[in-house]
């Protein structure tokens, strides 16, 4: 349970970090909070030759919240975003989801952007980004940064659109539409474990407080967060019909932790709960 040897690079600014990543190419990995990477190293599931440790790159330790949404820099820890009143006001779903991410000691170290890049199919934050239609900004030496929308960012289990030599410098979580609410529900064997299934929901209402838009992002039921528009089924607050649609469209697989059937069942139950809760919050906000 000890990591394999690697060359450690400790850049002090973004330019140096990108230069080190460019040189390392496919043999390099970025180390931010390390709460997913270091277990993988300890268990020898990964053995990068070069680690580019961005913990000294202060310019990446940013958190900006405004009317458009929340932009989280690559070095902003979960705990900082979780505790930010400004971030909670600009996009409440972030805080709702972060409380479900692992344990406080992990959240003190782990980063939001790191969790997105890790792209675990059972993780909460990829679902949040996918549900909200956010994006991740990728930088590389000698080129303009590119913004990758969530729908293209998660490409498979533990796979993202980040190419060798690229650094995810920030993630953007758009603000919710007016008269809307959000919620995150999940079932895990123990609090803080990766969820067997989880559902993030967004419900937006029209001027008469009827459902104008209802969307869910499900985790643990596919290789990437499954985003489903259930606006039609949710008409008249028919959350049971929306849950049926989620159950029909989810394609979970069996594994050691749960059967596909149980995961499908959970996705439906959690979708119904999360949609109802999001609608309640939306009406309270209206």
């Amino acid at each position: 349970m000890k990591p394999p040897p690697f060359d450690h690079h400790a850049p002090r600014d973004l330019g140096a970090a990108l230069a080190a990543l460019a040189e390392a190419g496919a043999r390099g990995k970025v180390l931010a909070g390390g709460q997913s990477l270091i277990p993988m190293l300890n268990m020898r599931l990964a053995a990068p030759e070069h680690l580019i440790d961005i913990n000294g790159v202060a310019e990446l330790d940013t958190l900006e919240a405004g009317p458009a949404g929340v932009t989280v820099g690559a070095l902003a820890r979960h705990s900082r975003v979780e505790r930010s009143a400004e971030a909670a006001e600009a996009q409440p779903l972030l805080g709702q989801a972060l409380r479900l991410v692992a344990h406080p000691a992990i959240r003190n170290r782990g980063t939001v952007v790191g969790s997105l890049v890790h792209a675990d199919p059972a993780a909460e934050l990829p679902a949040v980004l996918a549900l909200l239609g956010g994006s991740v900004r990728l930088a590389r030496a000698g080129a303009a940064p590119r913004d990758v929308p969530a729908a293209e960012f998660f490409t498979g289990p533990m796979e993202s659109a980040v190419r060798p030599g690229e650094l995810a410098v920030s993630a953007f979580f758009p603000a919710p539409p007016p008269r809307s609410g959000t919620a995150f529900r999940e079932v895990a064997r123990r609090h803080g474990d990766y969820a067997l299934a989880g559902v993030a929901a967004l419900v937006a209402l029209d001027d008469d407080l009827r459902v104008a838009q209802a969307r869910v992002a499900c985790v643990g039921v596919g290789p990437v967060p499954l985003v489903l528009d259930v606006t039609e089924e949710s008409a008249g607050d028919d959350w049971a019909a929306a849950a049926r649609a989620v159950r029909e469209r989810a394609e979970p697989e069996d594994d050691i932790h749960a059967t596909a059937g149980y995961r499908r069942h959970l996705a439906g139950v959690l979708a119904e709960q999360a949609l109802r809760e999001a609608a309640l919050e939306g009406r309270a906000n209206a």
């Binding site: 990591p3 450690h8 400790a10 390390g34 270091i38 300890n42 913990n55 406080p104 003190n108």
Partner: protein, 162 residues
């Protein structure tokens, strides 16, 4: 070729310490093997059990999921650093002893560090907040009843003594 090493400086329990370590040295191993502070225990080495929890600049973190080289220049508090002046046990330590919050003691250093930070942030936690605060630390002997009791007792002691 011998593995490249790095000279690092950590302030551990208020004392400036130097070590020369390979980049892959986990903070937990650095504390135990390089600095001789074996109070920090190592259980699972992948971040699940919480035994190796220490305070990094005052915040609880897993020392088995942190490279020593990454935190060079920072302040670390281990279980050895929790006692007060003259070696008097801290309120959290005394509460654990009083309430039988430990049995074999293996997980205790991690609990003590976690609870020290928890009560600093929230001096009068509810039962639910205590359970949430302890959720990242596993105990395989006592069950958690007496540990939860210890946290409430420590909160009382801290309030009495402040």
């Amino acid at each position: 070729m011998p593995e490249r090493t790095h000279d690092i400086t950590l302030t551990v329990n208020g004392v400036v310490r130097h070590a020369t370590v390979p980049a892959r040295r986990l903070l937990s191993d650095c504390l135990r093997h390089d600095l001789g502070l074996t109070g920090t225990h190592v259980g699972c080495e992948h971040g699940v059990c919480g035994c190796c929890t220490v305070l990094l600049d005052g915040e609880p973190v897993r020392s088995c999921l942190t490279f020593a080289v990454t935190v060079s220049g920072h302040e670390i508090t281990t279980v050895e650093g929790l006692a007060g002046p003259g070696g008097r046990m801290s309120p959290v330590q005394r509460a654990f002893a009083e309430c039988h919050g430990l049995q074999c003691g293996f997980c205790t250093p991690g609990f003590l560090c976690t609870v020290t930070a928890l009560l600093r942030e929230n001096p009068a936690p509810t039962d639910a907040e205590v359970v949430e605060g302890l959720s990242g630390n596993l105990c395989r002997c006592t069950g958690y009843q007496n540990i939860v009791k210890s946290v409430h007792r420590a909160a009382e002691l801290i309030a009495e003594e402040s």
